[in-house]
């Protein structure tokens, strides 16, 4: 009897760790679905799930979707999932820097090798400059959508500054204005905020005069730009990307940069440093203008959230952000999001600086950057049956009426392939992007093809650490920033 009790308790003790470990692998036994989508964009989690449910309803295939919260990097989780037995058939890839890993590991299916007719048509129709390609001929992803960024401006604020009804003309003229004209605009508005001087400015030949009396709205302004000074991407990534467009057409072009191309970044990067010096001299703060210095890069008061708040509370005229900031701005001020528009980020470039297919400095300064932020990739290691279901889903999502409804309405995306003339969204910023696309005034995102971390963690961080606390920047500083960017690019490529 005592022996029995002993054996029994031994069994219990042994079962404990086995049970607790088994919990980790529960879902290993039988997948129970035909398609597993790993979604890297947390913002569209619910909409994608709804779309997947609708697809299941129409085709009878069971679909599992998985998304992490927005703003979290899902790469580590994706790697773990790709190592597991039930790996995802569709997963997302952000850009060609990230593609390297999945191409080399044999996970990304080259869409140009696919024979399925419907899918081949979809893959062939992806515009060439939007392809996720490592060598110019292959293609590894179907775009989620397109996004764009520039200086966001509230048209009501424009009316408040320059008189009722001036916004429409202002937007057109500010878009076409030269860098010098833009500079004068900033200086004039700054003088108006600080000293009430109602000056006139010329934009693309048209004269705009500031109202003699500030309105309720314009008296809230504390500066011209809302800047997330403590975040290093503020100085790398999107802002420097505008300068990179002077040399590179797209990320693939940047990834395959020649020595001559890298050297020719000198002019654009110097112009970028000059523009950054100017921009950071006219920053808005919570209670008044902010000057460069320790306060400027204070992580508790000058981060992304505070910049968005400053703009949403009408304390700044411009904020450099993309249409993805829409919901964050709306959270703070429901009213302002209805009247937002983009104007391009401008740089003091000369035509000699611009060697890419954009061709002229004027064209570059009137364009906003529009690009694919995320791609659906198909797992090459999945079974043929799984791959077929994945292709059917992507074709359905991007071409069928019910699929497109989810893309434009539920996910609130600007679709990459739609006929833009017939599309308006509820999102003012997306509409602004669509207009720029219609006019053909768009540039790409070559920074996505720069060496990994070059833009934010290296160049952006260097600028933040060494220059943002300096009151005055000199010509040597501009040149040093450009040289640093070039030498690091060469070192890291």
């Amino acid at each position: 009897m005592r022996n029995l009790a002993k054996i029994f308790s031994l069994c219990l003790v042994l079962a404990l760790p086995v049970l607790s470990l088994a919990g980790c692998g529960m879902d290993m036994a039988g997948s129970g679905y035909d398609l597993y989508i790993f979604n890297g964009k947390g913002e569209s989690a619910q909409a994608l799930k709804d779309a997947a449910d609708k697809f299941s309803e129409e085709t009878g295939k069971k679909v599992k979707t998985f998304s992490l919260g927005s703003g979290t990097s899902s790469l580590d989780t994706l790697r773990a999932e790709l190592n597991s037995k039930n790996m995802p058939t569709i997963f997302s890839i952000v850009n060609i820097q990230e593609l390297k890993e999945f191409e080399e590991g044999g996970f990304a299916l080259d869409l140009t090798t696919v024979t399925d007719e419907n899918f081949k048509m979809l893959a062939d129709e992806i515009p060439e400059n939007m392809r996720l390609s490592s060598n110019g001929t292959n293609s590894f992803g179907v775009p989620y959508n397109v996004e764009g960024y520039g200086y966001i401006v509230d048209t009501r604020m424009v009316d408040a500054l320059f008189g009722e009804g001036s916004a429409d003309d202002f937007l057109e003229d500010a878009k076409n204005a030269s860098y010098e004209e833009f500079q004068n605009l900033v200086i004039a508005v700054d003088g108006y905020i600080k000293n009430n001087t109602a000056a006139s400015v010329v934009l693309d030949g048209e004269t705009y005069t500031l109202r003699s009396e500030k309105t309720d709205l314009s008296s809230k302004l504390t500066g011209v730009f809302a800047i997330a000074g403590a975040d290093k991407w503020t100085y790398g990534d999107h802002l420097v990307n505008v300068a990179l467009n002077a040399v590179f057409d797209n990320p693939a072009d940047a990834a395959a940069a020649t020595d001559a191309q890298i050297a020719s970044l000198k002019g654009p990067l110097t112009a970028y440093a000059r523009a950054l010096d100017f921009k950071t001299s006219y920053a808005a703060g919570m209670n008044g203008p902010v000057t460069r210095g320790a306060e400027f890069i204070n992580t508790t008061t000058a981060n992304y959230d505070s910049a968005v708040q400053i703009f949403a509370q009408s304390k700044a005229l411009f904020i450099k952000q993309g249409n993805w900031a829409y919901t964050n701005i709306a959270k703070i001020n429901e009213e302002i999001v209805k009247t937002l528009e983009f104007i391009p980020v401008k740089l003091p470039l000369t035509d000699a600086d611009v060697t890419s297919s954009v061709e002229t400095a004027e064209q570059l300064n009137r364009s906003i950057s529009v690009y694919v932020p995320n791609y659906y990739a198909i797992n090459a290691k999945a079974t043929d049956e799984q791959k077929q279901t994945a292709m059917d889903f992507l074709v359905w999502l991007n071409t069928s009426e019910s699929g497109q409804k989810f893309v434009t309405e539920d996910m609130a995306f600007v679709p990459y392939n739609a006929d833009h003339q017939n599309i308006t969204t509820d999102n003012s910023l997306s509409n602004s992007i669509i207009r720029y696309m219609e006019d053909g005034d768009v540039i790409s995102n070559p920074y996505g093809g720069a060496p990994v971390n070059w833009s934010g963690d290296v160049l952006g961080l260097e600028i933040m650490e060494k220059y943002l606390t300096k009151e005055k920047w000199t010509e040597e500083d501009y040149s040093a920033i450009a040289e640093y960017g070039i030498s690091k690019w060469n070192e890291m490529k």
Binding site: S20, E98, E101, E104, G106, N298, T300
Partner: protein, 299 residues
């Protein structure tokens, strides 16, 4: 009793052993193995399995050629030395104060121990606010109580950030170490001090000749804990500066290696982790050996 333990030793310790093997030993051995391969997180570059993509010591060579790793290495050592000294002085001072106060000792003990209950990330963000706003503006800024430039904007400079981190971990760990020191102090027989007083020894001499030697067992434990914890510090480093201004500690550096490289070089990150392990193991073992030898026993 002895028989009882002999009989039940295996069944009782088995669950712990199985868990220890499953979550520590096996991953550790796999990790060491991976540090000799070109593991990329989801696949082995240049081969189908670990053995085909064996690269020898290449990952280790690359790690030591990596400027960021070397920076983090030196910075971690500088930080650990400063922090261990600071924590020990503060916690011993607190312990001696508390053992001499006649009333309210328990309250002080609780208060000093409290910071230890906070998690590293939360603590980091709290201190980020203190350093950036309270220190930089309210207390030591140009318009503050007393203007001390060295204590303003501590997170925006490599050296200042080191001391900022030391202040943080001292605040966090001193309370815990203080408890160990109090226990140690309480085991010292009072008559030793009485005898010393009769012989005419002053407070300093008493501390040097009686307190320190008698406290050696506690010092061994405290040194071991602070050394190991400071070497391994991660959350606070990330929350406070996120490695900006070259302030990455080794743990942060290892974590970020896969983000610094594309495709992610998990092999090299793993090699750094092995170096990290060896470093901590050697330093703490040497420390244990040295302090143990100084322990005195009363016979």
């Amino acid at each position: 009793m002895d028989k009882y333990y002999r009989k039940w030793l295996l069944p009782i310790s088995l669950p712990a052993l199985i868990l220890f093997f499953a979550v520590i030993v096996i991953p550790f051995v796999t990790g060491v193995l991976y540090s000799f391969t070109s593991w990329r997180g989801t696949y082995f570059a240049g081969g189908a399995n670990a053995f085909e993509s064996f690269v020898g010591f290449e990952n280790y060579v690359n790690a030591f050629k990596n400027e960021k790793f070397l920076n983090a290495f030196v910075y971690t050592i500088k930080f650990t030395i400063t922090a261990v000294i600071a924590i020990n002085i503060v916690s011993l001072a607190l312990a001696m104060m508390i053992t001499t106060v006649s009333r309210g000792g328990a309250i002080y003990r609780t208060v000093f121990f409290l910071p230890n209950l906070l998690g590293g990330l939360a603590l980091g963000f709290i201190w980020q606010f203190i350093f950036q706003n309270v220190f930089s503006d309210v207390l030591f800024g140009p318009q503050g109580l007393i203007h001390i430039p060295a204590l303003t904007n501590m997170l925006q400079d490599n050296t200042k950030a080191l001391f900022a981190l030391v202040i943080l971990v001292t605040w966090q760990m001193a309370g815990y170490m203080m408890i160990i020191y109090i226990t140690g102090l309480n085991t010292i027989p009072r008559d030793l001090y009485e005898a010393a007083q009769i012989d005419g020894a002053g407070a300093l001499a008493q501390f040097r000749v009686i307190t320190l030697p008698m406290l050696m067992p506690a010092i061994t434990i405290v040194f071991f804990l602070t050394l190991a914890n400071c070497f391994k510090l991660l959350d606070q480093n990330i929350a406070l500066t996120d490695g900006n201004f070259n302030t990455r500690l080794l743990a942060t550096q290892i974590l970020r290696t896969t983000r610094d490289t594309a495709p992610p070089d998990y092999g090299m990150a793993q090699a750094q982790a092995v170096v990290f392990f060896v470093l901590i193991a050697v330093v703490t073992l040497v420390q244990l050996y040295v302090t143990k030898r100084r322990e005195v026993e009363l016979h």
